[in-house]
Amino acid sequence: MKKLNSLSSKNFLRSLPIFLISLLFINSCDDTLDPVKENDRFYYSIFGYLDSSEEKQWIRIINLQEDIDTTGQRFDGYVSLENLETGETSTLKDSLFQFSSNIYAHNFWTEQEIRRNDKYRITVERSDGAESSVTVEIPDSFERPEYRPPVSPGDPGRLIIREVDNLADASIRFRIKYSLSDIIVNQSISVISDTISSGNDSYYIPISTDRISQVTKDLDTADIIECELYVARAGPDWIHFSSLDPNLIALADGISNVENGTGYVVGVTSISIPYPNSSCSD
């Protein structure tokens, strides 16, 4: 046992230098990291809506398998819009937007007519042939909303909405014109969360006439112009987001209607009516 132990000690000491030297060669081991998994599930992210009442349509498209765009990179892809009923097709034009000092995104636009009751497909094709697409159906029109003034002073009036099975939006839209620079900015106040159902696809929304001035009262050198109440009805593929778990919405496959990609695009028909306060704000 003693001899064995002694031999063990000597063998251990002899093998040490060889072991240590060989470790140095391990420095050539690869230290690269490959964080992105190549896949054919997610090529592009597509968000937005097609509005039959608007002249210009805007769609957000992000190439998912590229790095975050922090410098305004060129977009690798060709975006087209096709009316599946008539075959009419247009190519969407690229417009780069900067959202903060280091975040950019490409929004694509077209002035192709969006017809009610038609189906449209947006297709994004990458230079290597990878493709994402989304198909939406544009709903029919609906009864023109009506604004009823308040019954008593101090009470809000009511925006009455009828024949809307999928209420996608209800908002106050206006434009702010800055006097010193003549810059005009589009703004909106969402009022959809104040919606009260009155049954049979009908709703009403309390809206006070000074709603715009509540949010713009501190703007001394600006005018509020072109104010209106906007209501949009969505097509049959509308998802009632307010009733969903936010974690489910956040999942790539949670609510997405994009093939080989993620995101959500919906077809809508909208109607705008004059804002109850003709001066937009007091």
């Binding site: 046992m1 132990n5 002694s6 063990s8 000690s9 251990f12 040490l16 240590l20 470790l23 391990i26 420095n27 081991c29 690869d30 230290d31 690269t32 990291l33 490959d34 964080p35 992105v36 998994k37 896949n39 997610f42 992210s45 968000f47 937005g48 809506y49 957000r60 992000i62 998912l64 398998q65 790095d67 975050i68 959202f99 903060s100 975040i103 995104a105 929004n107 996608a168 939006d169 209800a170 908002s171 589009n186 909106s188 969402s190 959809i192 998802i239 987001f241 307010s242 778990d245 974690n247 489910l248 919405i249 956040a250 999942l251 790539a252 496959d253 949670g254 993620t262 995101g263 919906v266």
Partner: protein, 765 residues
């Protein structure tokens, strides 16, 4: 499927075995205890260092007859306490020895059924002083059932870029201990997470003792008296945690003279002083102040400023009296802050405050050793501090503990009671998220008993049980544990150790495990009144191969239940929404250690396999199955650690090389901005949306392997006023690019320290 079946069977066997063994223990205890009261006497006492008053652990106490034949023998424990039992009346010699000290020899007369308290102070043998460091036996390969003793000398063997060693750096050189990197202060022990580690400083809990710069902790070599590190299988004395225990005893001050030391290096500056209190030579103080320097020196060293800072202040007062009472009061404060991603990302900070006292008493005519401690432990930690992200969490604990150590014949019994009150809170505010906060108060009471039962000359069993109760929340719990040691040849040169036990905890530390690079932990009680649970099983063999060579090998399994994990989400936000996971951890450590007067080397290999299973509703939508199995981000499969120290007169050279295979991380499949439709149609021209990562299945990728070589050389200079030590060295000597973490939300790769040369100067007066 077969693997799952095997695991389930093992779990059932483990639980049944543990419950049966605890019943056997109770019966056995009764039998042995009642038989233990024979007509025999006991000698007990506490052995201390004559110059400093510090208790000495590991001193040999031998009872001899006048022919110098050994009658009984014992080794002092961490309190310096020894006991020799079952002694027949007569006259004896008692010899007490410890390496580096002058052996003490005295005679004793023992009467029938008598308990004698004989304490002694050993004086340093100046002739051996220079060789004291190399002669103190190292414990790195001396592991017994997951337990390893750590001495201050052990810490000197690991290359540390400062004037002295540190337990954080030492622990990371052991198999089975995984750190998140050279910054962050997170240690994962045998598959467990940082919040599952129990760390005690003089008996009081400290929640986050490892500094943001990974080489350092609140336990430097100069303050450490001794430490017990349990990588698993710890006894019932320790409760409230499911993974590991680090029980540290801090040094007492020098009772004879006032001395000081200080050191400085590009990483750290520290000053320490100690001395007697009053004139009676029975009281002392010791104080230490440490502050990191890397924030100031990193521009010159690395070419960029590293925003990392830590500091600590420590004070301890000790007094002991002739009646066997020893009391101390201690205060420790730490502060850490920094950014793990130096250029971007959130700032982290945390602060510990520990205040408390401890008294031990060994009555002259009694065989009960009493240890009482009381204290306050507080932790606060934050992340962010900006308008976008502001997370904070805090823990405050008041505790009272009473431990007793008693012998009855051959049987030894440790038992005690504990009570505590905890305040736990968190506050989460993130952009786009609804702020959330919660405060909880827990009041708990517990007790434990562990018995040491020798069976014959070769076998010792240690059954134990831990009990805990909480007011108004968790149901009472019983945690039985069993350990055994078998020395087949009758000496501790060959020993088999095994243990099995149930471990539970009621607080969880939630961190964002989607990437490893987060140092923020939100503390909360485990929800739904369900405790986290682990069943440990381990078996190991250690052998002294002679001529300074020591070998040990140990295998372990942990079955985990009810581990709170963050709800899986693709949104870059911290969430306290949690779900549960179960887990299995399999592993083995092999250690070889060699030392002689001039040379020390250690080689350790660790294999570990950790897998969690979690059922989350989102998984079903995402991956097509509600249950996902994955290897969490601390599952380092293979680890290799080596250390070499060479002692050549006034010079000491050190080398450390460490290797680890890559850690799991979650690969991404894409990145976009999530636009919301719940407040109307989104305007893509003005709104980017919430940043979102499309994630693959959890932790399917592996980071590159990690390895690093550290070297140092030190020279000692002696002067009339004291000693100066000059050290030079380098961390990451061949400049390996080691990944610290990959931030999946910003797609940034953060690396660990590059080649870092350093020099340090230490002065001892």
């Amino acid at each position: 499927m077969l693997n799952l079946l095997f695991v389930d069977i093992l779990r059932i066997i483990q639980k049944k075995m543990v419950m049966k063994l605890s019943m056997i223990f109770a019966a056995f205890l009764f039998l042995v205890y009642t038989n233990a009261f024979s007509q025999s006497s006991t000698i007990q006492g506490i052995i201390t260092d004559a110059s400093s008053g510090q208790t000495i652990q590991g001193a040999n106490v031998l009872l001899l007859n006048f022919d110098n034949r050994q009658i009984k023998g014992a080794v002092t424990d961490r309190n310096g306490l020894y006991r020799l039992q079952n002694i027949s009346p007569g006259e004896y010699k008692i010899r007490i020895s410890y390496v580096g000290y002058i052996t003490s020899l005295d005679t004793l007369e023992i009467k029938k059924e008598e308990t004698i308290t004989y304490s002694a102070s050993l004086s340093v043998d100046n002739a051996q002083l220079d060789e004291l460091i190399v002669s103190v036996k190292s414990e790195a390969a001396n592991i017994s059932g997951g337990h390893q003793r750590v001495s201050a000398v052990d810490l000197t063997r690991v290359v540390t870029p400062a004037g002295s060693g540190d337990i954080a750096n030492y622990l990371q050189a052991l198999p089975g201990v995984v750190s998140s990197g050279d910054r962050g202060g997170q240690l994962f022990v045998r598959g467990g997470t940082p919040s599952e580690n129990l760390v005690l400083i003089d008996g009081l809990m400290i929640y986050q003792p490892f500094h943001i710069v990974g080489f350092f902790s609140v336990f430097p070599e100069n303050l450490l008296a001794n430490a017990d590190f349990y990588a698993g299988g710890f006894s019932s004395k320790y409760s409230g945690r499911t993974s590991s225990v680090l029980d540290v005893q801090m040094r007492d001050g020098n009772i004879n003279k006032t001395v000081g030391k200080g050191s400085i290096s590009p990483f750290l500056a520290e000053i320490q002083a100690e001395g007697p209190l009053g004139d009676g030579k029975n009281a002392s103080w010791i104080a230490s102040v440490r502050s990191s320097q890397i924030e100031r020196t990193s521009e010159a060293l690395f070419g960029n400023t590293q925003p990392l800072h830590f500091e600590s202040q420590f004070l301890k007062l000790t007094q002991f009296s002739d009646d066997g009472t020893r009391c101390s009061a201690m205060a420790m404060r730490t502060y850490d802050r920094g950014k793990l991603d130096f250029d971007m990302g959130n700032s982290f900070s945390w602060s510990n405050f520990v205040l408390g006292g401890k008294c031990t008493h060994l009555p002259k005519d009694s065989d009960i050793y009493v240890d009482f401690s009381a204290g306050l432990s507080h932790l606060s930690n934050t992340m962010g501090g900006s308008t976008e992200t502001n997370l904070s969490s805090g823990l405050t604990r008041l505790s009272l503990n009473l431990d007793m150590n008693q012998s009855a014949g051959k049987l030894k019994l440790n038992y005690g009671v504990k009570s505590h009150m905890k305040w736990i809170n968190y506050n989460i505010e993130e952009l786009f998220q609804i702020p959330s906060s919660e405060t909880n108060i827990l009041m708990g009471l517990g007790g434990y008993a562990v018995s040491y039962i020798p069976i014959g000359n070769n076998l010792t069993i240690r059954p134990g049980v831990s009990l805990s109760f909480y007011a108004n929340t968790y149901s009472p719990t019983i945690e039985p544990r069993f350990q055994l040691s078998w020395q087949p040849y009758g000496s501790n040169n060959h020993e088999l150790n095994a243990s099995i036990g149930i471990y539970r905890q009621t607080i969880a530390g939630i961190s964002d495990l989607r990437d490893v690079g987060s140092a923020f932990i939100a503390w909360l009680p485990t929800p739904n009144d369900e405790r986290m649970e682990a069943i440990h099983s381990l078996i190991g063999w250690k052998q002294n191969l002679g001529n300074g060579l020591q070998f040990s090998a140990e295998g372990y399994h942990k079955k985990l239940n009810n581990i709170p994990v963050s709800l899986w989400s693709t949104i870059a936000e911290f969430t306290t929404e949690i779900d549960y996971a179960d887990g299995d951890i399999w592993g083995a450590d092999v250690r070889v250690e060699f030392e002689n007067r001039r040379f020390y080397t250690f080689l350790g290999y660790g294999y570990s396999w950790t897998e969690y299973q979690s059922a989350q509703e989102n998984f079903n939508v995402w991956f097509g199955s509600p249950v996902q199995s994955y290897h969490p981000s601390h599952d380092r499969r293979h680890q290799l650690n080596s250390m070499i120290s060479v002692y050549l007169g006034k010079y000491t050279a050190g080398i450390r090389w460490q290797f680890g295979t890559g850690l799991p991380f979650t690969r991404q499949m894409g990145y976009d901005g999530l636009l919301s439709f719940d407040q109307g149609l989104p305007n893509v021209r003005t709104n980017y949306g919430t940043p979102r990562v499309i994630l693959d299945k959890p932790f399917q990728g592996r980071t590159p392997s990690y390895h690093r070589l550290d070297i140092s050389i030190e020279r000692q200079f002696e002067f009339n006023f004291g000693s100066i030590f000059i050290q030079a060295g380098a961390i990451n000597t061949y400049d390996r690019v080691n990944l610290f973490y990959y931030d999946v939300f910003t797609q940034r790769r953060i690396n660990q320290l590059p080649f870092a040369p350093y020099a340090s100067v230490k002065m001892e007066l």
